[in-house]
Amino acid sequence: MTDAIVHVESVYKEYLTGSEPVRVLHGVDLEMAAGDYVSLIGPSGSGKSTLLNLIAGLDRPTSGRIIIAGEAISEMDEASVARWRSAHIGFIFQFYHLIPVLTAYENVELPLLLFDMPAAKRRKQVNIALDLVNLDHRVKHRPGQLSGGEQQRVGIARALVTDPALIVADEPTGDLDGHTSEEILDLLQAVHETLGKTILLVTHDPRAASRAQRLVHMDSGVLVEGNAESLREAFPGWANGH
């Protein structure tokens, strides 16, 4: 057992394409301590999303172990891992994925409905989360009535509301303009610094990647520690100041 929040050990993942097995991850190891802010970068098809799904308990490795917040999720069955996920992982998506028929408040409340929690406590937690993302004045608005940036803030509040051990952000600025992207990245940074949350960010955006404390680079199913050089390799245009 390890003290790390994320412990990925010799993880392999294969998919079947027709009858042919295709190996996507080749013995990946990753360790994230509590409070880490890690960016996962790499070209399309390199295996980033596969690794993200495995860490978030959305898929199972072909071999290897994944321990998140002390729980070996790679050994849990589907129902158990779903219950575990609701309590320990917060998700932020590129396209926000709010439920269009629910208000901002109800969207944030959604993950809490899985817990046996009194309504008053639920209300308090939802209000705190919406306050953190500065959307306490938009609680009754539905996603269609909010801007992209506001929707992503609701998405972040929904990820925070259960006080998860790990926040997984999948291209959170991928659908936003430059200015709004900066606001969302500032917000994520604040979540990391003020709340001490552990964040794993998968991104194609060099500005987003550069905000993290640590960079890991995925290439052809192999994970390596990255640095500024990795960023320049991954995003040559950005390296030239664009």
């Binding site: 998506f93 396209f95 998968v202």
Partner: protein, 384 residues
Amino acid sequence: MKFLTLLLRNVGRNKIRTVLTALAVVVLVAIYTLASAVTDTINHLVGSHASQSRLMVLEKWVVPSQFPIRYVPKIADVDGVADWTVWHFYAGLLDDAGTRGAGIATRMENLREMHPGLEELDPRLIKAMQRERTGALVGQRILDQMNWQVGQRFRVMSFTHLNKDLEFKIVGTLPGDVWAHNFFFRDDYYQEACDDKDNVAIMWLQVADEQNGKRVAAEVEQMFANSPAKVRVETESAGVARFAGRTNTIVSIINFVVAVLLIDMVIVLANSINMTVRERRSEMAIFKILGFQPSFILAMVIGEAVLIGALGGIIGAGTTYGISLLNAADQLPVRMSFLLQFPIPAKFLLHGLVVGASVGLIGSAIPAAHAQRVGVAEAFSRVG
């Protein structure tokens, strides 16, 4: 935020699709309700009060039955016959709109005893009928349909007896609903007014028990075996079974149409729900990612379909029921005489609800099964 709130909001999400789907269910349930009312009425008429100890005497070959009235006293004298009556059929139009009425001319002295379903008839009405030569005891449905009152007179434009349009005075109402579509009047009035004193259509015999019935039937048939007009004697239940045999074909056709309608409803709903599921795949993936179990997604999809189906079902049945009531009360611009023959009982409102909800349940089963298997990857970005 409760599950039902989510369901209701999802139902109201694509209003045009929901309205069109519900409308399809409304129309189909309305047709189903009408078809069911027809089979219900037929089954009710066929299945009521059939007995083994009541015999009906009919002409053996002629349809409609008619045999000499001189047979009647001879048959009545057969050992084992406890009581008897005769029927003459008289039918025609009750108004210019073409509403049909079926009358039975019979003996008044034992009307209650010889007609199952009339046990509750007030004996004072029998006496009143015996005083009033043109009197008629009229079924409640006819009274409701025609908006007639006891005491008033009506005229029947006969299509069974040409140029023999008879006038009647309503003396009372027939109890219950066995004879709700008929009216009874005196056989002596019929014989004189229609100038038909030589024949009867059917003779009814009351015998002590089934064994006695078989002997009496054989004896009566034998009695006229060598006459030009031979008779056939059968128990009431056998007669009913024979009638049912004919109507069974009609009922089977209607049932077939109803089955096709139900399948059609299921397909319409399944198609609509399938489109909904396809559009919301990423949303369903989100529910899964957040930790909701596949059974929640299953319930969400099925619940939405059941809600639309039940809503369409109750509106469809309710509309048909309402039209039936308004039609009976002559409150519609055009009176539908067809609907008067097959009244829609209130219980069909519940049937409509149940049929609509069941169609929703069946129609959404496959789309819901697909929905609960939606992959979580649907929610993630397409890169990496």
